[in-house]
Symmetry: C2
Subunit: 404 residues, 2 copies
Amino acid sequence: MKIIEGGICAAGGFTAAGVHCGIRKNREKKDLSLIYSEVPAAAAAVYTTNLVKGAPLAVTKKHIENGKAQAVICNSGNANTCNADGIEIAEKMSELIADELKISADDIVVASTGVIGQPLEIEPIANGIPGLVRALSKDGCADAAEGIMTTDTVKKEIAVEFELDGKTCRIGGIAKGSGMIHPNMATMLVFITTDAAISAPMLQKALSTDIADTFNMVSVDGDTSTNDMVTVLANGLAGNDEITCEDGNFGAFMKALNTVTVYLCRMIAADGEGATKLLECRVSGAKDIKNAKTVAKSVICSSLLKAAMFGADANWGRVLCAIGYSGADADVNKVDVSFKSKAGQIAVCKNGAGIDFSEDIAKTVLLEKEIEIIIDLNDGEGTATAWGCDLTYDYVKINGDYRT
Amino acid sequence: MKIIEGGICAAGGFTAAGVHCGIRKNREKKDLSLIYSEVPAAAAAVYTTNLVKGAPLAVTKKHIENGKAQAVICNSGNANTCNADGIEIAEKMSELIADELKISADDIVVASTGVIGQPLEIEPIANGIPGLVRALSKDGCADAAEGIMTTDTVKKEIAVEFELDGKTCRIGGIAKGSGMIHPNMATMLVFITTDAAISAPMLQKALSTDIADTFNMVSVDGDTSTNDMVTVLANGLAGNDEITCEDGNFGAFMKALNTVTVYLCRMIAADGEGATKLLECRVSGAKDIKNAKTVAKSVICSSLLKAAMFGADANWGRVLCAIGYSGADADVNKVDVSFKSKAGQIAVCKNGAGIDFSEDIAKTVLLEKEIEIIIDLNDGEGTATAWGCDLTYDYVKINGDYRT
């Protein structure tokens, strides 16, 4: 397996585009993206667990009920959520793009991201669609990744190459996600494409299994969004024998998918609203995986720890505190904690109590951009990893007046 | 019932003091407080639910097992938590103050607040105790309230006068609490005194019942502290017939207690780390009280909503979003939301969808210091109130480098 260029267009038969259609006032900012497969593809998706769900999610769910889709359309700047005409608008988006692509509206995945509760006008989208389809190309991944960004500061894309039955397959993805990100859900917007041949039920199984350890282990601010979804389209053009059960090829596919999703998780966490640091919390020695996950998520979600990491302050008491209130079954008197970055690793807590350590070295470790918070519960075999970011002035700034 | 001066010294027989003993480097900052009843008092307490518990909590729990206490000692600047000798130090604090007061160490409530995981030296406390006892006076409430402050910016004290059996009773309290405050627990440090006569079991019942609607409905940052407790001492000097069952007098006592606790809750939320605004979320129309509480707490805890309130941005979509992920059983299509302050009230969402409203008026409403977020779920009779604060640049600043 190796990382390759091309993102969502790396897989055979996929093209993409992103344009400015006018949902956003800023003409420099793309706001409408398209991903297209030249043949119908197996489709799978996971959705937010928020009771308030964006209208596009309901429409997408209906469209891919048959396990099939051929294109993804997504706008940014407006979430099309909590609007009386939301479903109607999402259906209309699907019909317009399907007409232009000359495919069925039932084969469209539709998504929206942005402000909640403001009516989404169909006109800019209708006007933008012809140009969007004309712009489809094998080089379109960057534009599509840009068109789904909201407060994201960087485009998020990746692709990897792997083999199934001696055939070269590719899988790639783009993501948007910066604020309103929390583990209890499908999480943010992620669109993945692959030319591997895999049945829709096995594709859904792969995705649902994978997100439990990836997108559901990312938190930026503890707010679970209304519009999040992760979709995968698999068009089979790589020519491998279709994966229809949990065999070795399924394992190889899972591994490639996981490489893509972990990469995107780390990018999303690192680009958390206002973030200056990526935090990775690695828990081992838990009674089981469930307890390990509970601890990892609690630590990564602690506002106090996040602010301490922003200040490069080795305030490990806040790690212990977050373990203590996590609800996990853990013996707090056995906990070891250390901080690690490319500048080194420093142990700060042993058996639940502080140990002597050099504040200077700790500072050097914590001034890096990627910090690992390493927790050994010394109480079993369970392990888990969660990703998050620091809490900064800019998070407050970005969210203090998001709508203007 | 009326609000009176004196705080924890308003009740007959109680005196208090606060001094600088040297736990903190800043000599201007008091760091050791004492509350003393001239006769033994019935005692009740509730404690944090965090698995990591400060050593003083274990010692206090043991001391008041018999339902009796006569004095409270509390230091700030060090939490005496996650230290190997924590219990020993907390016991030593109790013994030293008991010796000086010539009472039993078993009648001491001991508490600590501040940084976790740094050994607490007994010397400054031992040296400070004689002066602390000499300073005891009926005017000592302000000093005691100051001695328990950490990142608090204002002293928090209140007292009220009420009648039982024609006897005038008083109940008063002081609180510290600014960061690391979250509903799933006993919450922050609060010391309450009263001269009403009430048995220890009924006092415990009154306290445990009250906090479910008061201190457990306050959130500043979602972090549940390791050292929180609320204690009440009732010395009976008002001369009323001792309350021993849930009669009318118990109801009158509960009402007076609730006046004190709600006042302190509001003060704690308003003084949340970095806060510029007090947020009060009032939920009605829930299927039951449990669902109403779940919704109120979820809304008050949303980082995105808290940041929007800081920016006086009427971003009601974030209210809907927080209701949606709260886990409450609610129909999101029936939800009405409005914002209210002394500048007026403005409806922003009806039946789960946005309505036309004046952004100018909304801004005027939200620029006030106390904001009510009013939610009607239109789905039943359950009501609840939660308190919190906005999320600001200063929260990040305070917590980015707390230890230095």
